[in-house]
Symmetry: C2
Subunit: 559 residues, 2 copies
């Protein structure tokens, strides 16, 4: 039987499967070409592209593990031309689009409208809010030339759009009846980081949404801040199976120029570091005063009040957090709700001794399974690639994180079942063919739930309440984040960071050992406060601080 | 009855209507504030923001008419900080998103995957294809500084992404089994135009999609070029009710560095100018040779062939074409399929003599009409704004282009009908309340179809076949585009442009009279060729040309 002649219904599956697996294949024939690719990223001294599968364990070398996973699962590609930039490949864009659809539907329901502002801003607008410009100036990319002419006034690529948008809010918001005034845009922003970049987590350009709203009162603005924060928590918990702690940032960590910042904070078990998930900012009246955004007070005709503003953003960083939490030594592990392929069907037991008739029959059966699953709403594909053993294919799809593998061979056909293997737990079993339309969607939901539960337990067990300073460093070393009574003072927070920074923190410490020397910073003041703080009595835990603490604050080594 | 107490179901409608109409309202109270807005765009010596309705007729002063429509219908806002940039407001983003959804679904079906490449490119990549860099270099925005440090190597903001993406195609395409290899991205690009900018049509930054694909053979690539072109035609014809002519660009007008360019061309009846709608390029092997994108020839083991590439893009320009074609002296006219609000319900016959009970009853009825329409898939809103007459509201929604106005008063209620008025024709009538769920969607489809037909007739009647050179200029002056036998030579095309440029074309001619002096250029060689050309015999129409013409070519004054 010729290579390219599967049964009609599985042709497109074959094409897709072929397209989605670019590794190995005709490696030998292409050796010459590969040699030319001298610009491949080098990991641990080896070209990552030449190795199939992940070469280090997640526990032993987490940074390299992460880098290999996002590259080899084809989530990103390093952009060789300019450092700190990454290409997002289809599997990542699928995840981002699932998040986008979910979040967009939610904010549309709230009455938020979509807009698109230019990517450039003038220094003049940016400088209106002093803290804001100070926060972003070091990372601005400046366009100074167009064609071969110097621009009269250089313009910066937006790092965020407060200063781009708010001059127009002043114009568009004419009356309290225009409030709430809410716009959102999906775009990319540039922050030319000096620090080392990491795919998804810290990149010089990233995709995000940024919402910018205006309200009549502090209370109404504050209500929206929390509504949005809950949507961000939903993206993590419901789509990405990642648990987060909701809370408020300390003064030290809040948005530059804002009033207060709320946040969802995640936790990476492998290194015990906290990671900021997404932030929803109350800007207060700082910007409305600078940009002159006022309405007539409906309760007091003739007098004007400055509107209360919010801004809130969720970026492609979420994808990196998801990878770090769920991935394992075999590679990526995707939560079913965001996986581009939820279930991959791999034909087994077919070999050169199989008669063309038997093969055809088998292809038809696989096509029917796939079609049944598609109709049941499952993103299912089949892998008919020639020249690969089933075992090779298993590894390949495990590397790519597909949540559920289905194996189907003549023996399964005889028993009228499919064999399955869960990506998250490795658990194997059988499902009767007659039941796949209901059992497989259920199983995918179970996987989604189990992935969340596992991560939730890990976070809960590593969030430790501490009331004795001496226990802090050992707790961090044991990969925990800590909840401590904290006074909230920026200077005290700075000092806590110094006190918890190991003196052996040298700049030449390899990246994979750095976490162990890093000082801790505040992650958030959780909204859900444990018992045990007596306001006005409980002391701030810092050994050098004399102030009292009103709240438990979550601290940790962090990204 | 207090102002803010409509019946429960119409509260959100009220809020939405209020939000969507920012004009006039409390103008007086805000006079002081308006005075501060010294940076408003000035049209015809007046601040456009201070005038309700369009102040010039489309026929008399088309450029000013266009500018007023896009501003006053709140499609765009001028970005004061940097000239040539525009803010897209929700009504525009709605149109763009409808187009995006439709096109995205179509290309997904074809197997095109989504990607996201960085916005910057290095000079090195750009320079690989000589014609390409020459075509784009004059309009590149160069980032030379990050923070306060000069970049070692300046980077340009992408004007298009061939040079950003193709180095990776070389890496990712390893075998003929990876073909067709197709990626698309939705982003914005920057082309720092020196020419005068116009909202949507020529802006220094614009939103678009750019597809970049690779194929094994010229034939397969060529097939896709046309499939995509047909989708572009679909965006115009099916969504925007705009007729287009499909064809191929001449050598002079093709994409810089490409093999050949196909295009859909539109026509603006008001000034008789042609306008390029969207282009689908066959790049041939030019880029694959420069970027070394090869696969082993499946028919000839051991030898390698360069892939055949395409690129294709559709931008927010489409929205401007739609505005120019359908708008009238009252403002915007939106085709129902892309209108954010398809039908606006305006309560009439309610005044201060109406009893609270009667008002409440009326509000309930309006809410029910709206809810019935929503369930029938119609994007319907109601306008309960206080302090405005129905006549004022009629004008306001006409300005904003809402396709169908429904009026509903106690008299209509008694007769169990709603009154309607079509935005496109002004036609009025009644629909029985019992029938609105079927009749109104039908009516919207009729409007869509009629708008297309009207524009299609206008284009057809102004596409004139000419075989006598002396008739060319009069035809252009009569707002036609012309079909002429043309040899296809770039030099001959340049000369035709000179020959049709009026000598009274001075740089200080006002913009609204410029069309009448502009030379014509080729728009495309239409795929649908009229009869009448005898290859090898028919002469090129240029009076100075001795060559023969194989094809009718469409020429015109153009954007």
């Amino acid at each position: 039987m010729s290579e390219a002649a599967p049964a009609e219904p599985s042709k497109s599956a074959l094409k897709k499967a072929e397209k989605q697996a670019k590794y190995a294949a005709d490696k030998a024939a292409k050796a010459a070409k590969a040699a030319k690719q001298s610009s491949l990223p080098v990991v641990g001294g080896k070209k990552t592209d030449d190795i199939i599968g992940i070469t280090v364990s997640k526990a032993e070398n987490f940074p390299q593990w992460y880098q290999e996973v996002v590259l080899k699962a084809e989530m990103v590609e390093y952009y060789q031309e300019i450092s700190g930039f990454f290409i997002l490949r289809p599997i990542s864009m699928h995840i981002w689009n699932e998040i986008r659809k979910w979040f967009q539907a939610s904010i549309e329901e709230m009455g938020v409208e979509e807009t698109n502002f230019p990517m450039f801003l003038s220094a003049k607008s940016l400088e209106k809010e002093k803290d804001h410009v100070e926060g972003f100036a070091p990372e601005l990319a400046w366009v100074t030339k167009a064609g071969d002419k110097d621009l009269e006034v250089p313009v910066a690529v937006r790092p965020t759009s407060e200063a781009v948008m708010y001059p127009y809010y002043s114009k568009w918001i004419r009356s309290h009846r225009d409030l709430p005034f809410r716009l959102n845009q999906w775009n990319s922003v540039v922050r030319w980081e000096a620090k080392q970049t990491t795919p998804f987590l810290r990149t010089r350009e990233f995709l995000w949404q940024e919402g910018h709203t205006a309200h009549l009162t502090e209370e109404l603005a504050g209500k929206e801040v929390l509504e949005i924060l809950e949507l961000y928590a939903g993206v993590y918990e419901q789509l990405l199976a990642v648990p987060v702690v909701r809370g408020r940032k300390t003064e030290n960590e809040k948005f530059a120029g804002g009033y207060y910042t709320t946040t969802v904070e995640g936790y990476i078990p492998s290194n015990g570091r906290g990671i900021q998930g997404a932030t929803s900012h109350a800007l207060g009246q700082n910007f409305s005063k600078m940009f002159d955004i006022t309405v007539e007070d409906p309760a007091n005709k003739g007098s004007h009040i400055h509107v209360w503003q919010n801004s809130w953003g969720l970026s492609t960083r979420v994808i990196g957090v998801m990878v770090m939490i769920h991935g394992d030594d075999k590679g990526l592990v995707l939560p079913p709700r965001v996986a581009k392929i939820q279930s991959i069907i791999i034909p087994v037991g077919i070999n050169k001794n199989t008669t063309p008739d038997d093969r055809k029959k088998h292809e038809d059966q696989v096509a029917e399974i796939r079609s049944t699953l598609k109709k049941a709403g499952v993103r299912a594909e089949s892998d008919w690639r020639e020249g690969y053993t089933p075992a090779w294919k298993f590894n390949d799809w495990e590397l790519r994180g597909v949540p559920l593998r289905l194996e189907f061979g003549p023996k399964d056909a005889a028993k009228e079942v499919v064999s399955f293997a869960r990506r998250d737990t490795g658990e194997k079993g059988f499902i009767a063919l007659a039941d796949i339309a209901t059992k497989i969607p259920e199983l995918l939901e179970t996987i989604q739930k189990d992935m969340y539960t596992k991560a939730e337990i890990a976070f809960r067990e590593h969030r430790i309440q501490i009331t004795n300073w001496d226990e802090v460093l050992p707790a961090l070393d044991n990969k925990n984040v800590v909840l401590i009574p904290f006074c909230g003072e920026p200077k005290c927070e700075e000092r806590i960071k110094e006190l918890t920074t190991r003196t052996d923190d040298q700049p030449d410490v390899p990246e994979n050992q750095k976490a162990a020397t890093m000082g801790m910073k505040s992650l958030c003041v959780p909204f859900e406060q444990p018992e045990g703080i007596v306001p006005g009595e409980t002391k701030c835990l810092s050994p050098e601080c004399e102030r009292t603490a009103d709240k438990w604050t979550m601290f940790g080594r962090s990204y």
